[in-house]
């Protein structure tokens, strides 16, 4: 077990003071699993822990707030250091630290603590990568009629080891063949675009090229474009959500908080097995504007899969909208539009900081506001995953033959036992193999069969 105190000595200090022997003490765990969003750096992260530390520098007692990142994997990976560096930036900005702060990276399996010092060259490298990625994403979702991805790096070593190499090859040979992207590559270090003359040479590319039929290529391209069009429309709606946030149409209140608290307490003390049914939680919201009300009803429909969050309680839950009700009320000359709906909660999705749960009766004095988000958009990657399964998964060969290769449906051949059974029937007419197979698959006794005939 490493000595934590000795490791943190001299850390979290301004550059010129980093080598000075200084006592550092962790004062407080400020937050766990907190999501910090930097709206001007365009970075958001969920930090394992944020801790406040105290240290002495030039005979003065100073304090700093730093990120603490836990890793449970077997191996140390430099990307983890970079991740912690970006968390340092988020923490510096969120907690208005006027000097660079270090982070702590802890490898649980190895019981190894590492101090992460954000070096300027590394931060610049990471921000430039972030910028490239943001630009590529913007271009991808701005175009609805084509899927425009970053070019390949076409490094035989990297591409052979990449777990996405099959998909990358499929996309290249179906969606990019003949386009500019098939003729250029990006240098992984300098980010320079370069022309290429030959097709990529890594193993997976050649394998996919040999295996993919023309029908599969056409089918893959057709559905990839359709899914992309739909997703691009949804993404653009997401950008409009900032307007929605301003209008506050996604803020709701819980109607039965006491029941919810009971549910949470039960969950905290008992095993999750105790849930036999999906609990129902009632929410409501009131608008003074008819248009906002319509916007809400349009966005959140029965059966929609939604996420509901409350930052003060650190609470996230997901479930389905089971039913909705809408009614108008009047207060003097003012009209109000109220919507109430029931959420069928998926208990395993419930996350909550139990210590923040208001005590019994206390919630009546509070007005707890929740935020609802529609998470239907998660379906697009699943759709694409199914498409790839249909083409590549050996278990889907029969389905693929039917749908993509348009092979006529055909029942399997009869087994000896089935043939024997059919012969016993002594029918006056002859069935073909498909009919016989169908009959054998219907669980009828001979007597029942003859009654039907």
């Amino acid at each position: 077990m490493p000595n934590f105190d000795s490791l943190v000595k001299g850390l979290f200090l301004p550059l010129e003071e980093r080598d000075v022997e200084t006592n550092v003490r962790i004062l407080k765990i400020l937050n766990s699993e907190q999501t910090i969003v930097s709206y001007n750096m365009g970075i958001k992260g969920k930090l394992d822990l944020i801790v406040q530390i105290e240290y002495t520098s030039k005979n003065q007692l100073k304090r700093a707030i730093i990120p603490f990142e836990l890793k449970t994997g077997e191996n140390e990976y430099h990307g983890n250091n970079w991740q912690t560096i970006l968390y340092c930036l988020l923490v510096m900005q969120k907690y208005k630290q006027s000097q660079d702060v270090n982070g702590i990276l802890y490898y649980l399996r190895k019981k190894k603590l590492i101090q992460i010092v954000p070096r300027q060259d590394e931060v610049i490298y990471l921000l430039i990568r972030r910028n490239f990625l943001a630009k590529f994403l913007k271009v991808l979702y701005n175009k609805t009629d084509e899927i425009s991805l970053p070019p390949m790096i076409t490094s035989v070593r990297e591409c052979n080891n990449c777990k996405m190499n099959v998909l990358c090859s499929m996309v290249n040979m179906t969606l990019e063949k003949g386009s500019d992207n098939s003729l250029r590559r990006i240098d992984s270090k300098s980010n320079d675009m370069m022309d290429i003359e030959d097709t990529p040479k890594f193993g997976a590319y050649q394998q996919v090229e040999e295996e993919l039929t023309i029908s599969q290529k056409v089918y893959f391209k057709h559905w990839m474009l359709l899914i992309h069009q739909e997703e691009a429309v949804e993404k653009n709606k997401e950008y409009e959500e900032s307007d929605e946030n301003q209008l506050k149409i996604n803020l709701i209140e819980m109607d039965n908080f006491a029941d919810f608290r009971e549910l949470c307490v039960k969950r905290n003390h008992e095993s999750s097995n105790s849930y036999q049914n999906m609990p129902i939680i009632a929410f409501s919201t009131v608008f003074d504007d008819k248009n906002k009300c319509h916007m809400f009803l349009e966005k959140y429909k029965n059966g929609d899969y939604v996420k509901i969050t409350q930052s003060g309680l650190d609470c996230i839950m997901k479930g389905y909208i089971e039913s909705r009700r809408f009614h108008r009320t009047k207060d003097g000359l003012n009209k109000f539009y109220a919507i109430s709906f029931k959420l069928k909660l998926l208990p395993h999705t419930l996350q909550l900081n139990y210590e923040r749960l208001p005590a019994f009766g206390e919630e009546e004095e509070l007005r707890i506001i929740w935020k609802i988000t529609n998470i239907q958009k998660d379906y697009f990657p699943i759709m694409r995953g199914n498409l790839v399964d249909l083409i590549r998964n050996p278990n889907c060969t029969r389905l693929s033959d039917l749908i993509i290769e348009e092979v006529a449906p055909k029942f399997r051949d009869l087994t000896d036992e089935e043939e024997k059974l059919i012969k016993q029937m002594k029918l006056p007419f002859v069935f073909n193999n498909d009919q016989l197979s169908a009959l054998s698959q219907v669980n009828l006794t001979l007597l029942e069969f003859f009654v039907i005939l």
Partner: protein
């Protein structure tokens, strides 16, 4: 220019550090090919870009920006140098600029040179493209060395593998045990493991893992987490609960 920002004025410079509500649009881009020496002579002189008279020997990009969130009368200029030159910028792109603007030339230089004396990275000049896209650190990291891989991972559903499922469970266990105020007793900690296994049962089954083996593997970590907490965290305070949003 930028006077409507809520910024600190520092002698001749404006500071736009940490301005959440400012954004700029790129209205034009000049590179070395466009002979920027004549048009931007004062800016290039101010930032010592010229060498050997009025010649530019290094690759640069000069962006003309207009503020889209505050009313300003004129544009300002950003010079990109070093690795920043390669940024894939186009006219119309929205950017955020950090750093100090020279009021006299209405310009700012962004370079990758290391500034040894700097105590805080936010005192550097840097630029963010499309700040409204909030990317996670793990996504940014996964783009190295290949951007395409990172985007493909987003486009196609990746089922949780056994290592990622185990990682999620370990995270959950570590945080559950670490953040509890009371001393962790054996059975309570083991109950926590059971709960985590139950919560992740679908992913475990999908990966053909035996829940009992995973439960056992996780239970073996309980003593070391407990020891770590006893050594380093026991005397710590947890932060007071944040205020619930009250209207």
């Amino acid at each position: 220019m930028l006077s409507e920002h809520n910024q600190n004025k520092e002698t001749e410079l404006f500071k736009i550090l940490n301005s959440d509500d400012s954004a700029f649009r790129v209205t034009s881009i000049h590179t070395n090919k466009d002979d920027p020496e004549k048009k931007f002579v004062s800016i290039l002189t101010r930032h010592k870009i010229f060498s050997d008279g009025l010649k530019i020997t290094i690759p640069i990009k000069i962006l003309t920006l207009e503020c889209i969130t505050f009313q300003t009368n004129s544009a300002f200029y950003v010079i990109l140098k070093g690795q920043w030159v390669n940024l894939p910028l186009d006219e119309g792109d929205v950017v955020q600029v950090f750093g100090k603007i020279c009021e006299e030339t209405r310009s700012l230089l962004i370079t990758d040179e290391i500034e040894e004396e700097l105590s805080c990275f936010f005192h550097r000049n840097f630029l963010i493209i499309e700040p409204s896209l909030h990317l996670t650190p793990s996504k940014i990291i996964s783009s190295s060395p290949c951007y395409r891989k990172s985007i493909l991972q987003d486009l196609f559903h990746q089922r949780d593998t056994l290592p990622t499922t185990k990682g999620t469970m370990m995270h959950g266990l570590w945080e559950d045990l670490l953040l509890q105020k009371e001393v962790i007793q054996g059975k309570k900690a083991e109950k926590q493991v059971d709960l985590l296994v139950q919560e992740n049962i679908d992913a475990l089954r999908y990966n053909n893992a035996k829940p009992e083996e995973i439960r056992q593997e996780m239970k073996e970590f309980i003593p070391s987490i407990k020891q770590w907490k006893d050594d380093h965290i026991s005397n710590l305070k947890l932060a007071e609960p944040c205020l619930i949003l009250i209207l």
